[in-house]
Symmetry: C2
Subunit: 415 residues, 2 copies
């Protein structure tokens, strides 16, 4: 079988760049996510069992089961799940993504993204803000109370506001926020206030309850991660557009569940290639250190997969106050990622590099050849459920996932 | 008389940096601006007569007189003003600043800034957005209608929202926006949406008229210059804090009226040193060229005077798509301004330069010694009243204002 890998990669990356993700609405997961069902929990990263799950992942699973009324506490949740009454499946196997634990249950409201170029859809849950939150494994009553407010009060207002705005072009929003010091993964300050300010007039029109409007506007405006989840879903829609091109060695998924990191490759179908997650190296909040850290976790590496995040760090020199390093390191990270990517993004440009496009489309062949792994910017979770975020930093995927994928590629296409 | 110029300059610049400008409220000019009266129009730049005023300045004067009900049209306005019934005085002589023509009349609502460190106040009118606007000399009925809506409907809501927010720390907002690709003069995208998003919950609480709330949020959020006027007033409050230090050669005012550019110097009291304005060099909107341009106009150079604007251009590489040039030029402009400034700002830092403080405090001695003039980023007005903005670019003040000021300094302190 003759394959032209270069041509296949061009096709895959051009599809990723041509994708135009429009944020359409917010709706309950069970109504929109393909294959969603009441006894299913979606989670970040590649497949994982309860037994092998990290602390934050277990806490988020417990919280989601309590949220759904299927358990009362940790013990009843554990009994419920170990007795096989609940399925755990990766978000990525349902066109979805979620930050950190990424646990999404059927009644949770999710952002709905449509890639209007190719027609595929993508989904992500709502961002809870800072402090004790489900995505870091917290499940205390106040955590669930906030989730219920987001689900029952905020989500319908966001859905109506998005409808009144005629959807929201997330690629345009990202292109703008990259010119405003964001990199789209760990720094979403600009994107989140653009999101808030753009929707604000429609949020006002969506309900006659002024107190609720003010509360929603404050919740969105005070949270510099408000836009992270729709950004991730937009990146998922873009990356998925490049998936499934026969003969392509472009990475289209990279995700972590706190235990394993997994990648998928455009020309290798839905197969996961997994290895142990790394420990992020970064800055810790006061009172915490590397000893407290969970293994790397979350689907947010869909940003790097789509050509932003750490890959666009040259756009976001101020991020080093949060993740450690220097502005030069930020520039150099982007420059290094060009080495392993097959294109420069036509929609996302970096002013500081003379408006050069961000590096996009990791070619697993180049990762192996050059020994350069995709850089990841990430939040750091406490290893115990319920503590929350304890820092932010940099981490790398294990090399074996690229090696295993390349071996599988050779076996599939060449053998 | 023994003077220690270096010590005086340190004092002046330290006072500029220590100033903390809080946006307190919005109120009619006649109620808050010292010396404001019904027969007075404030204008940008140094003193100017009707006869010597540029097209945009004349148009704005006519518009303000119609707005105040003192004239019906250009002819009646001209008669009114040339008969001596109206005084024209610089904004800067009343602790105020205004972009472009900067014309402010007694019933116009203005932002009120308090420097809580030193107690001085500063003022600026409201930003009208784009298109045909008074500040570019337009005075058609729809221009005045929008001004009346801003004055009567929006201003009281902003006043109430600012009160509910407990004021707004403009130095903190600027520090944040400089990390988000703004330079605070020609690029205020980030600052304007921070301003909008921060006040949004309080704007909702300020009135029960949902339509008005939505309109105000859209007006502020769609205008990437919303925050320019409070930023300018904040810079005025900071620069004024450094004014009046005996023996200081620091420039504390630089402003243009479309005909003349004038500066003031900390140690030389309220004396203006003026010279002919330059013609900005930049990018023109489609259909316009340098031949259509007014002379350089506006008090917005208070931003450069306070250490942002062109001086902080290294923070805003994306601005070159608007004002011409390259990202390297943006970096080099900031680096060059360090040569003529006496400090690096303790509150405003530039991530791309390793978080170095912005250059602040132009020492007129260095301008003369090095032959380096303060760089200005500016909007370009059409030379005829009522056309509006036709581009944006870069411009320099005339060298003679620094020479004249230094001669005056020598005469005052040394002779």
């Amino acid at each position: 079988m003759m394959i032209d890998i270069e041509q296949a990669n061009r096709t895959a990356v051009e599809r990723m760049m041509a994708a135009r993700p429009i944020l359409r609405t917010v709706a309950p997961a069970r109504d929109v996510i393909p294959g969603m069902r009441d006894n299913l929990l979606l989670h970040a990263g590649p497949p994982i069992t309860w037994e092998r799950a990290s602390g934050p992942m277990k806490g988020a699973i417990v919280g989601a089961l309590i949220f759904e009324g299927l358990a009362d506490d940790w013990d009843s949740a554990e009994t419920f799940i170990t007795s096989g009454q609940i399925d755990l499946e990766p978000c990525h196997e349902h066109s979805a993504v979620g930050p950190m634990a990424g646990v999404t249950s059927s009644s949770m409201q999710v952002y709905v993204i449509e890639n209007v170029t190719h027609g595929n859809m993508a989904y992500s849950n709502l961002n809870e803000g800072y402090g004790k939150v489900l995505r870091y494994g917290a499940y205390a009553p106040d955590v669930l109370k906030k989730l219920r407010w987001m689900n029952n009060t905020m989500a319908p207002i966001l859905a109506r506001a998005l409808e009144l705005n005629g959807g929201l072009d997330m690629r345009a929003l990202l292109a703008e926020s990259l010119h405003m010091g964001d990199e789209g993964h760990n720094r979403n300050k600009a994107g989140s206030i653009i999101f808030t300010a753009r929707l604000a007039p429609h949020i006002v029109s969506a309900t006659d309850n002024r107190f609720v409007v003010a509360t929603v506007l404050k919740f969105l405006g005070d949270n510099a991660l408000s836009v992270l989840n729709p950004v991730m879903a937009a990146c998922k829609a873009m990356a998925d557009a490049g998936h499934g091109v026969a003969g392509s060695t472009i990475m289209t998924v990279m995700a972590r569940n706190g235990t394993d990191l997994g990648i998928r490759v455009s020309g290798l179908g839905d197969r996961w290639f997994t290895g142990p997650v790394g420990q992020p190296d970064g800055l810790y909040f006061p009172g915490f250190s590397a000893e407290d850290a969970s293994g790397d976790i979350g689907d947010s590496t869909i940003t790097e997969t789509a050509g932003i995040g750490a890959f666009a760090m040259a756009s976001a020199p101020a991020i080093v106050t949060f993740i450690s390093g220097t502005p030069e390191m930020a520039i150099n990270t982007t420059l290094e990622m060009y080495e392993i990517c097959s294109a420069e993004h036509s929609a996302f440009t970096i002013p500081a590099l003379g408006f050069r496009g961000t590096p996009v489309g990791v070619d697993i062949r180049r990762v192996i050849e050059l020994g350069i792994r995709p850089q990841i910017n990430t939040g750091i979770a406490h290893k115990d459920p319920g503590v929350g975020q304890i820092g932010a930093g940099l981490v790398l995927p294990p090399m074996n996932v690229f090696e295993d994928a390349l071996v599988a590629f050779a076996e599939h296409y060449i053998a």
